[in-house]
Symmetry: C2
Subunit: 202 residues, 2 copies
């Protein structure tokens, strides 16, 4: 019975909006659908978030930005490149397992509005400096081959993000179930760092 109202309406809206935005994108999202999913009236939506744009920003700042941004934090305080790579990949895959649609959503919206999402992109700047330092230190110690650290970072992110972005293609190509996909991601927590480290180790 008692409608356990542990949640504030604003939270319910944000959750609903987040779900809809992530699966339909900005353009594909209908305010009505968000209202339905939150179990409220459409007018109430505009009461809490003046318009679609602000609702979108609310979702983005509130959840997406933080959840995605914290992946970068996994690099902080690392002393060794290989260890950092392992931590980053694990953090990325774990975070995305909770939210498989996120990478595609982010890619989409950053493309749609690069300026508006600049703050989001900047979020991890500090950690990226750490990464660059670790690369150059490893290079000086002769542990890795000479590689453009920026390109290395692109490769790492590619190997983390792409399975989620191309998920339906992958599951279909390989004829695997969603459950098998999940197992594949778990395997990749180990295999991706190995793949990367093998290819850069001197």
């Amino acid at each position: 019975m008692a409608p356990v109202k542990e949640e504030t309406t604003e939270q319910r809206i944000l959750e609903a909006a987040r779900a809809v935005f992530i699966r339909k994108g900005m353009a594909g999202t209908r305010m009505q659908e968000v209202a339905d999913e939150a179990g409220i009236n459409k007018a109430l939506l505009h009461y809490y978030f003046r318009d679609k744009q602000r609702l979108f920003e609310g979702v983005f700042k509130g959840g997406v930005e933080k959840q995605f941004g914290c992946i970068w934090d996994s690099l902080k305080g690392r002393e060794h490149l290989f260890e950092a790579i392992e931590a980053f990949v694990a953090a990325y895959l774990d975070r995305m397992t909770e939210n498989p649609q996120l990478p595609l959503f982010i890619a989409n919206e950053v493309n749609r509005d690069p300026e508006g999402l600049r703050a989001f992109i900047d979020r991890g700047m500090e950690s990226r400096q750490v990464f660059l330092r670790l690369v150059s230190e490893a290079r000086e110690r002769g542990e890795i081959i000479d590689i453009d650290p920026r390109e290395l970072l692109v490769n790492i992110m590619a190997l983390c993000a792409h399975p989620f972005i191309a998920r339906p293609m992958i599951t279909h190509i390989h004829g695997i179930t969603d459950e098998a996909f999940r197992r594949m991601i778990i395997k990749r927590r180990k295999s991706v760092p190995e793949f990367i480290i093998r290819s850069i180790r001197a």
Copy 2:
């Protein structure tokens, strides 16, 4: 003067629709915008393509599917895994350089409607068999380590596609211009196969 009408109206529509669909996605595309971009009336759009869905399919079958599909063909007739990887990466990057928005567009639409795009996905099945054969042959000759060939394929596609999918993020993170991005892609024609082969070579 003479409005050089080398193009049929249908072609003009397909080009325009392709451009708009790719930059706005299915949901974000307005029939009016396609009509404008094609320099025609909106009614004429519906005269050639009954509705938005059919227009979308027309674009997809007509151009996207073929252009993307031919990347797979680069694998055909290859005798050696490493050579095949080099050819595939080169084909992928060259094709996408002509059409940088394509990977994100595809990812999006395959997610939106996995069933409807099954035919597109199947297109490269034959070539993927070639790839699997080359991997197992290389494995038997002891040239490469023991790796799940499906995962290898995912990794290759990830390294090819991701720079285009995350392009605005990459250009901003690394503070580079579009021209520098182009140069990076050219570099990757060599560096990506090297990266992959280093990591699988026995």
